[in-house]
Subunit: 235 residues, 2 copies
């Protein structure tokens, strides 16, 4: 298609896509950098299929093939409000300390491990992930040192790494504020109305009060950009 | 039960169990060291359910609870003779170079990632894996430097690591020969007749000629211990 790099010439890259704001931005960035994105997403017993649908819609809107969906068996080992029957915390104060209950054990380690397997099978050497250490809600596996450690591991774990064709883990959002992420995405044509961030949506609307909604709302305000999200208190 | 440490007092440990010779030995070693093993195994589209059955039988024989089985979606991303329709290589010469076609992309990275998630959810800080870098058939993710890199990653990725309760990855076989592994296991009462190593069994019998069978047969010979394995040419 005119306007897209040829799949025969573009460098393949695995892009982890959740349907959320951050990963939609990363997908647009990978494409703008000339990569041919292979999107990968996960079904890990989320309570809301809306996330998986958003991942599809985001890919379609950016002209990227629909994501491969990996079934993750996290519910069996438990440990999170996102996959078990624990209430999602609301209205946490600014600067609330500790790791929130919405933390999924080893989630980004698992996601990157599957991305690594897919990269190796597909002959890709580049993996993109939308982790962010600024507005990061306290998750340990969203920090630059985690990403660096995974890249080191990847190059010891795989045929490509061992044979001198290094794997690179790209985390282009890791040091950006939410407002900076939103400005980048808008400049690249991301339609954030298609993305989904809420941990606890009600009737298709974002709750507006969980950690994820709080960060998202503030990001649009700080960026001075109209928030297309439909919240329960603004719909 | 008399003779077993009390589950209330023993330190929990996640033990990766495949049904093979190495992981059976590791399970016995973890138990002998006083841990309460939580066995974890994977169904990744293996062509032979005999592996999963062997994992159960090995646990039963050592008085360990049956393993939790994680469904791994590796077939979807392809890349190995163990999960796809590619012939298993036979009678490879000693010292054959390169990484064999039986390599599964990112396999031990994925296995350890799930073990890490399970450890975090179960409150365990110890993970045991039966990798071996001596008779290791050329897999990059069986080397000590891979294990060390994963331990570093684990302590950056998790609540426990971040909060100062480090995760330890135990790979007690990593520098042992197959003969040494077999001698340890026999001393600990492992019944190797229950274990399964063959990549390409025929009618319930081990082929005797794939890399895994070759290493196993030679290990028993070198250890001076009778090989209880039923091979197609010795049954």
């Amino acid at each position: 298609m005119a306007g897209y790099p040829s799949p025969m010439n573009a460098t393949p890259a695995i892009v982890l896509v959740s349907g959320g704001l951050d990963s939609a931005t990363v997908l647009a960035m990978a494409k703008a950098d000339g990569y041919l994105p292979h999107a990968l997403t996960f079904d890990y017993g989320q309570r809301h299929d809306v996330e998986l649908q958003a991942a599809n819609t985001v890919c379609e809107s950016l002209g990227v093939a629909l994501p491969k969906v990996i079934q993750l068996d996290l519910r069996a080992i438990g440990g999170s409000a996102l996959t078990a029957d624990i209430d999602v915390p609301k209205d946490r104060p600014d600067g609330a300390e500790g790791i929130p209950i919405t933390y999924v054990p080893a989630r980004n380690t698992l996601f990157l491990s599957y991305a690594l397997a897919y990269a190796e099978a597909a002959g890709a050497h580049d993996i993109f992930i939308g982790v962010n250490a600024v507005d990061y809600s306290g998750y340990p596996d969203c920090r630059p040192e985690f990403i660096e450690a995974f890249e080191t591991l990847a190059n010891l774990a795989t045929r490509e790494g061992v044979e001198g064709r290094p794997i690179r883990i790209h985390a282009p959002l890791v040091k950006l504020t939410k407002a900076e992420i939103i400005r980048r995405g808008v400049a690249l044509g991301v339609d954030y109305g298609l993305t989904h961030s809420c941990y606890d949506p009600v009737g298709g609307l974002a709750c507006g009060r969980c950690d994820s909604c709080t960060l998202r709302r503030r990001g649009f305000i700080d960026a001075g950009i109209n928030d297309p999200t439909r919240y329960t208190d603004s719909a």
